[in-house]
């Protein structure tokens, strides 16, 4: 396969970026990949772990091609994967609004939004297939919002000056996932997909260095099962729950990806975490999760705090000239629509200054007063009604009358398993799709791009690149009797048994909360060397205590949600350390990663392209040894690196 002329000699793996001009790489690549004969496809078994946008779309598309697919999810139905909770929308370069959008602009905004820490080729491919995604979803019957004339409607999102976001009210993720889920269920009906719900991947089976299957636990019966395949696709989402409080679903976890890391799949940019600016603030320490309010709200809502420190007046009693619409003030050209990392960091600053609002002082206002005055309450209700209702349910306040209170919360992890251009990890035969990989968002993801990436990977990338792997590697037949399956199963079972036998004094939640606090305080919105070093030491200590003093209730061979939970927290306790190690290595600020040591005089993130224009790729060397850092240099041939400015 043709690769670029970039100097690869220092990097351990080949990122397999096709040669040729940026705009032709993907089509050239598609023309060059090896194909699997339709009759042969049915001889190949593919495992898809996770049924969110990436997993469901991949499983459905591969089944249509003729592969036999085993799909797994931890939820009781594939439809409940956490993609369902995405609210705002999905980007595509359709230029239906005639506002000058193009594949190039979507590519450029995404690269820039990611603060130049992603691969040009991957991002360009993403922008290229974005239009196909919209077509595909509409054909499936996804009821996107429409204009009176019957054409699709768009709205704008942070980090873009165009309207390119397609949406289905505030439930775009739900509708896209249900579309992909329906395609998946069609595959189930045709017998091409075996769907295993409530079945959790515990480990990856590697034979002769190649991914050949997985070990799972049936979450209802506790039964441990083995599944063999010619390729394993990891579509297991992100690991934001390492912070304990996040907008992720309670069951979202890193276990599948982490176990793969420990089996040889390198982990890229683990510290790159997106902290979303518009979430409902924490109200007490009983809080179990955070709820996102779609970024689309920033189209009409204005963000402000009082000018005076400690102004405890009711927001409606604070006159305009005593309000600081700080985003509009600092970033006049993007205003309230600056990218997420910028909006979050500024919220932190004003709260650090003591100008935060609400009981905890850890919130800023998002005010719809002016939009309601301008457009009328009905228009606002039409656009955001369900979000306003949700806000009212959670806080007990009516946002039509009182400004919303919002605060940043962990939302998405740009980091993930390292993959090459073909979405294959460093373990041959193991692929990672969607949020589980690291590939497209650099150091910061733009709004409405996660849905785009998940579906791009599943519908339009993996069907080509997986075929190429199968046709080239020609995996031989294996069965689950192989001793590698036995061995891996034994290890997975041993860990569960060990957890159950500790019978310590602290609950799993105690540890998770404690880990989350360290992560939020020291590996959160602002990081510094001292804090990161402390975090590493504290996490190590916590991990040691966990394995001696955690209480895991119940039996292994039954439905036991706290056993699942303990097993996941055990992995978070290892991942957290790697995230801190990674953040410590990257002594620059970029995107969501803000190193206090590296900022401009105005307090903006200061990138250091000379020294850090690389992907940090971590290789596991054993739990007691430090992971090894490999650097994949990022080569920019088409965009000029500039300090991001949204002013």
């Amino acid at each position: 396969m043709p690769t670029t002329e970039q100097p690869m000699n220092t990097f351990k793996w080949d990122s397999k970026i096709p040669s040729g001009p940026l705009g032709e790489k993907w089509s050239n690549h598609k023309n060059n990949v090896k194909l699997v004969n339709p009759n042969n496809k049915r001889k190949h078994n593919i495992i898809v772990v996770g049924t969110g946008l990436a997993g469901a779309s991949a499983a459905a598309s591969l089944a249509e091609l003729g592969y036999n697919v085993d799909a797994f999810c931890i939820q009781d139905s594939a439809r409940r994967a956490h993609s369902i909770a995405a609210q705002g929308g999905i980007n595509a370069a359709k230029n239906y609004q005639n506002d000058g959008d193009s594949v190039w602009r979507l590519f450029y905004d995404t690269i820039k939004g990611g603060d130049y820490r992603s691969r040009e080729a991957n991002v360009h491919r993403l922008a290229e297939v974005s239009n196909n995604i919209i077509d595909q979803c509409v054909a499936q019957g996804v009821p996107f919002a429409r204009e009176y004339g019957g054409t699709l409607s768009n709205r704008s999102f942070g980090g873009a000056q165009l309207s390119r976001t397609f949406y289905a009210r505030g439930q775009t993720g739900q509708q896209l996932l249900l579309g992909a889920y329906s395609a998946l269920m069609k595959g189930v009906n045709s017998g091409k997909i075996n769907m295993y719900a409530r079945e959790e991947m515990l480990d990856l089976v590697v034979i002769d260095g190649v991914a050949r299957g997985i070990i799972t636990r049936n979450l209802v019966t506790g039964e441990i099962n083995r599944y063999a395949a010619d390729a394993v696709l990891l579509c297991t989402g992100g690991y934001g729950n390492v912070y304990y409080l996040s907008t992720n679903a309670k069951n979202s976890n890193v276990t599948a990806a982490w176990r793969c890391y420990k089996r040889g799949a390198a982990f890229a940019n683990p510290n790159f975490t997106q902290i979303h600016p518009t979430c409902i603030p924490v109200s007490g320490d009983y809080q179990s999760k955070l709820t996102l309010m779609s970024e689309s709200l920033r189209n009409d809502g204005r963000v402000w705090v009082p000018k005076k420190v400690g102004d405890k007046r009711h927001p409606n009693d604070i006159p305009d000239d005593e309000r600081d619409y700080y985003l509009e003030r600092i970033y006049p050209s993007f205003g309230n629509l600056v990218p997420r990392d910028v909006a979050s960091r500024n919220a932190k600053y004003v709260c650090d200054e003591g100008r935060g609002v609400g009981e905890t002082g850890l919130a800023v206002y998002l005010d719809f007063r002016d939009a309601i005055k301008r457009d009328g309450e009905n228009v606002i209700r039409d656009k955001y009604g369900n979000l306003f209702d949700m806000y009212e349910k959670i806080t007990g306040e009516n946002p039509y009358e009182v400004p919303m209170r919002i605060f940043p919360a962990v939302h998405y992890t740009m980091g993930g398993l390292w993959v090459d251009y073909n979405l294959m990890t460093t373990v041959p035969g193991l692929f990672a799709l969607g949020e589980a990989n690291f590939s497209d968002h650099g150091a910061n993801r733009l709004g409405a791009s996660a849905l785009m990436q998940g579906l791009a990977d599943g519908y339009f990338v993996i069907p080509y690149t997986l075929g190429d792997y199968i046709a080239s590697a020609k995996p031989d037949k294996i069965t689950t009797d192989h001793k590698a399956f036995e061995e891996t199963e034994r290890e997975a079972v041993a860990q569960l048994d060990k957890l159950l036998k500790i019978k310590g004094k602290k609950t799993i939640l105690d540890f998770h909360r404690q880990l989350g606090k360290v992560m939020w305080d020291k590996v959160g919105m602002a990081r510094n060397e001292e804090g990161l070093k402390e975090a590493i030491a504290e996490i190590r200590e916590m991990r040691a205590e966990f394995w001696e003093n955690v209480f895991v209730p119940g039996e292994p061979a039954t439905y036991n949600k706290y056993l699942e939970y303990a097993n996941r927290v055990a992995d978070f306790l290892e991942l957290g350390e790697l995230m801190a190690v990674d953040a410590l290595d990257r002594r620059e600020s970029c995107g969501g990663h803000f190193r206090e040591e590296s900022q401009t005089p105005e307090g903006e993130a200061q990138r250091d392209d000379e020294n850090f224009s690389y992907v940090s790729v971590w290789e596991f060397m054993g739990l007691e040894k430090d992971p090894v850092l490999h650097k994949e240099d990022l080569i920019f041939e088409n965009v000029k690196l500039t300090q991001r400015s949204y002013k």
């Binding site: 598309s61 019957g141 679903a249 309670k250 179990s288 069907p463 706290y562």
Partner: protein, 251 residues
């Protein structure tokens, strides 16, 4: 109410080891419930107390905790998802209850939703109804341009009103007959309102209705209790539309 005030509650919670054993109510008293907690956070706290005493926690389904995944399935004081209209149990907050209340919590009860443990039941019947026909058979890659088929806003909105179903099963749980008509009807009605659904509309409605029957759900007597408990407020007109589609399929 400030964060410092706490409520005392008596909880009567259904416990059942598995399908083959008899279930029973277990009573728990709590005196440290914060009114700003969500209902599930209150259960989390109870489980924390139980585990601190080295006891087995109560199993209940939950995931997104923002009312969209459809995992949570509690019958609270006799009503699926509890007393607040258009609210899934995970979005229900303790401020809706009073200090000193007794709260009864039961699982979804239906033959088609077999018991797994405590408050957890098996809703895979819904998946099988969906796989019988809840889709448009369009393969990846062969879609025309998204704007090629204009769909009037009103019609798209109507389809969306039905498409928002979260598949939680409250409709079944609350129905005196344990009917799954609202769930099935919502999906059929979504496609009935979209041109994309047209080619398969007859096959779809017949197959989905047939599967619904096979799963052991009851008949619909138009009580509309399903609409009342539906966390996303899907109208019973979904059921009317399903029957309309069914009649068209017969003709």
């Amino acid at each position: 109410m400030s964060n410092n005030e706490t409520m005392s509650l008596t909880l009567k919670i259904w416990r059942q080891k598995n399908q083959n054993t008899k279930g029973f109510f277990e009573e728990h008293k709590m005196d440290d419930v914060n009114p700003h907690m969500s209902f599930l956070e209150m259960l989390d706290l109870l489980n924390e107390h139980l585990m601190q005493d080295q006891k087995e926690p109560i199993e209940f389904d939950h995931d997104c905790r923002e009312g969209i995944c459809g995992s949570c399935n509690l019958v609270i004081n006799g009503v699926a998802h509890g007393p607040e209209m258009r609210t899934a149990a995970c979005q229900l907050h303790m401020r809706k209850f009073n200090d000193g209340d007794t709260i009864t919590i039961e699982p979804w009860r239906a033959e088609a939703f077999p018991m797994i443990k405590d408050l957890v039941v098996d809703r895979s019947a819904f998946d099988r109804i969906m796989s019988a026909g809840g889709y448009v058979s369009v393969g990846t890659g062969n879609a025309p341009d998204a704007n090629a088929i204009p769909i009037p806003k009103q019609q798209a909105d109507q389809a969306m009103d039905y498409a928002v179903c979260i598949g939680c099963g409250a409709c079944v749980a609350s129905c005196p007959n344990s009917s799954a008509s609202l769930f099935t009807g919502a999906k059929i009605s979504q496609f009935a309102n979209l041109p994309q659904g047209e080619p398969e509309r007859k096959r779809r409605v017949v197959a989905m209705v047939e599967q619904m029957e096979k799963e052991g759900f009851g008949d619909c007597s138009n009580y509309a209790e399903c609409e009342a408990v539906c966390p996303v407020g899907i109208s019973i007109s979904a059921i009317a539309e399903m029957r309309r589609e069914y009649m068209k399929a017969l003709i």
